[in-house]
């Protein structure tokens, strides 16, 4: 392919090339093929596709997208509940944009609810929702708390602020999930084909390195915490190959500019003051003990689940959509019968196609096959 060159190869490209050579050398030393690496985080998935890294990596490395897209792992029951909240009189649902088009069990979504007259608004942070509650004091503002340990501390800080302000019309429907026990469930089942894990940089910046230790110690899984630039990801993959080649898996922090081994104590403290660990239903993984965050007593007046006491049954999982298998790395999007036929970003069937960080959206948008 002949392409116009604008200047010589820059430093970034040279660094990437050097890392790729090192990865090829290291791969030769690993006995088992293919090496299956799961990138846990949706931001990693997008970055890998956006930069075309799959095309650059040598044959023999298989990248599998994991359960780290918060929209994708939100259970259909929770989405049904969010939609039900939007139908209540006087309630405004404030949400990150990604949640808008996720279909619930009946195919209805917040976007469709909004089109039929519900008050659903996109916000960029929980603070925007709080400001909405101040400005429109006559409405009950209900923020959908979706996200992992990266988002939860900000939501916790917002709830604490609402408490200090004495707000009576601000609520959070907490669907927050926490990563370590989900990974435990993923590997405890014994069905995982994955031997190495690219651990999420953002989540690790909050929780530190120790929550991953059980993976090398109990399951022999190599772990590398990595950032999101292409060279960050390749440094992580190189570390994983080195661990596998030497037969000594560990948790390697390859993202020290953002992650220290203790995590972020202030964020963890704020999270702990407002939330407690609770069992949580994950799409694809089912009910996992202590893998979600509920609002603690003392802040219960902000708990939308309690305030509006909605009873939405978790629907039976009969759907041809394979998002659950894709999230857990058991299938690729190409193996789903709906992918790119009945299910496209324009009319998504499952959450992995809706979320900008979902595996199916990435495969569809950037071409999962070698092109």
């Amino acid at each position: 392919m002949s392409l116009p060159e604008s200047g010589g190869l820059d430093a970034k490209r040279q660094r990437v090339d050097a890392l790729l050579s090192a990865i090829c050398r290291e791969l030769d030393r690993v006995p088992e093929r293919p090496v299956r690496i799961m990138e846990v985080c949706g931001t990693h998935t997008m970055s890998i596709f956006r930069h075309g890294l799959r095309h650059l990596l040598p044959q023999g490395i298989e990248l599998i997208s994991g359960p780290g897209c918060p929209v994708c792992v939100t259970s259909r029951g929770q989405i049904d509940t969010a939609i039900a909240l939007s139908q209540l009189p006087g309630v405004t649902v404030a949400t990150f944009g990604d949640m808008l088009r996720v279909p619930g069990s009946s195919g209805f979504s917040l976007a469709k609810a909004r089109a039929s007259g519900a008050d659903v608004r996109i916000v960029y942070s929980p603070f925007d929702a709080l400001q909405l509650a101040v400005k429109e004091s006559w409405r009950k503002i209900c923020f959908l708390g979706i996200g992992f340990e990266t988002t939860a501390p900000v939501v916790a800080a917002t709830i604490e602020m609402a408490a200090r302000m004495g707000l009576e019309n601000f609520f959070v429907f907490s669907c927050h999930k926490t990563m370590p026990n989900a990974l435990r469930a993923l590997f405890a089942a014994g069905g995982s084909r994955v031997e190495a894990l690219l651990c999420p940089g953002h989540v690790s910046a909050i929780i530190g390195c120790s929550p991953y230790r059980f993976l090398p110690e109990e399951h022999g899984v190599a772990c590398a915490i990595a950032g999101f630039e292409p060279d960050d990801i390749l440094v992580g993959i190189l570390s994983l190959l080195r661990q596998l080649a030497s037969g000594r898996p560990k948790v390697d922090n390859c993202y020290p500019r953002a992650v220290n081994s203790q995590g972020n104590p202030r964020a963890l403290a704020s999270m702990d003051r407002v939330f407690r660990l609770a069992d949580s239903d994950w799409r694809g993984l089912g009910l996992i003990p202590e893998s979600g965050l509920s609002i603690r007593q003392g802040f219960e007046q902000f708990d939308a689940g309690r305030r509006f006491s909605l009873q939405v049954e978790e629907p039976d999982s009969v759907s041809p959509c394979r998002c659950d298998e894709i999230i857990t790395g058991r299938s690729t999007p190409l193996e789903c019968p709906l992918f790119s036929r009945a299910c496209t970003p324009a009319s998504p069937y499952g959450p992995c196609m809706v979320s900008s960080e979902g595996a199916c959206a990435a495969w569809y948008r950037y071409g999962g096959q070698r092109i």
């Binding site: 392919m1 392409l3 490209r13 095309h55 918060p70 944009g97 996109i122 990266t150 960080e357």
Partner: protein
């Protein structure tokens, strides 16, 4: 200073339903706001149609509606956009634009001063482009039934005999160029809409491109295969549409696509991709291989172009319509925009 108390010049006056009634109030509005600013012999006739002289060539005819929010933004406003947008749609077929129509739908209660400001910029854009507004219409709808102001412009232009510019003329081996930085308009609107107080260092690129197209056509003739202005859906969507229509694959280089550093940063913050952001004063052109250097020279000398670049080549049809070599040397597909660009969640 003594205030002029004449009601028609009261700057605090608002638009009322009566202004769209077709009666006396409509007539005053037309005279005071439109005729005084857009004056030309066609418009002054004030009849049901403007009658234009015959011309040599094929007639290009295009229409577009403008509903941008906010209506005033750094680098322009809805009025300027409505003029330049339709002029550019005509220019992308190689036409020389000759006349525009202007239809406005106003919300009851809209500020008369804002309307004057918008018509001022319509007049300025029309005069700078040398394309008169020859016919128009104004309607007013009750408060809440429209958002402030919607504008429709249609335009006609003349394509010189013997010229056709269309994506269906694109062949493998052709080269792909853009006339400047991608995503400025979209990034400006998104930062305004989100209330981000970013000192962007960029503004909307709204600009008429017909004269630049004229120079390119004069210099290169049919060596130019097709023009396209990458507005809604951005560069990515336009490239996919062009390649699909031509039955070829575009191979483009991410590094070669000009994007301002500040726009790239805003995209990082908002979780957007500059390839999908709208442009209002930029074009894509596909030219025969041998004409690429000359096209680039014309673009580089043009005041309407801002960091023009050769961004790729046309290949035989492959698995996908557009393939991009990424900054770090990877390859990926480029797809059309689907849905509104959504903010990222974590």
């Amino acid at each position: 200073m003594k205030q002029d108390m004449n009601r028609s010049e009261d700057p605090y006056e608002v638009i009322v339903l009566d202004h769209g009634s077709g009666g006396l109030a409509s007539s005053r509005l037309v005279r005071e706001i439109f005729l005084s600013r857009l004056s030309n012999s066609y418009l002054e006739e004030l009849e049901d149609s403007a009658v234009l002289p015959p011309a040599q060539g094929s007639i290009a005819f295009s229409t577009d509606s403008y509903v941008v929010d906010p209506i005033f933004f750094p680098g322009g406003d809805i009025g300027e956009l409505a003029v330049n947008g339709t002029i550019n749609d005509l220019a992308m077929k190689g036409a020389e634009p000759s006349a525009l129509s202007l239809g406005l739908i106003l919300e009851e209660g809209f500020s008369r001063r804002d309307l004057e400001r918008i018509v001022d910029s319509i007049a300025r854009a029309s005069e700078e482009a040398g394309v008169p507004v020859v016919t128009g219409d104004t309607k007013v709808v009750p408060r809440g039934k429209a958002d402030k102001i919607f504008i429709n412009t249609a335009g006609i232009g003349i394509i010189p005999h013997g010229f056709t510019f269309s994506s269906s003329r694109i062949r493998p081996g052709d080269r792909i160029l853009v006339s400047g930085y991608m995503g400025d308009h979209g990034a400006t609107i998104m930062t305004q809409r989100q209330g981000l107080s970013l000192d962007g260092g960029f503004e909307s690129d709204t600009r008429a491109l017909h004269r630049l197209v004229g120079r390119l056509v004069k210099g290169l003739g049919q060596e130019i295969r097709a023009f396209r202005d990458p507005t809604r859906g951005g560069l990515a969507t336009s490239l996919v549409e062009m390649a699909a229509k031509a039955g070829v694959t575009f191979e483009i280089s991410e590094k070669a696509v000009p994007v301002r550093e500040e726009v790239a940063q805003v995209c990082d913050i908002l979780g957007l991709d500059p390839l999908y952001l709208a442009n209002e004063g930029k074009m894509i052109l596909v030219v025969a291989d041998g004409a690429a250097e000359q096209a680039l020279e014309i673009l580089e000398a043009a005041p309407e172009a801002d960091r023009p670049a050769l961004i790729g080549t046309v290949a035989e049809k492959g698995v996908v319509s557009v393939v991009m070599e990424t900054e770090v040397g990877g390859r990926r597909a480029v797809e059309m925009l689907t849905g509104e660009p959504l903010p990222r969640i974590c």
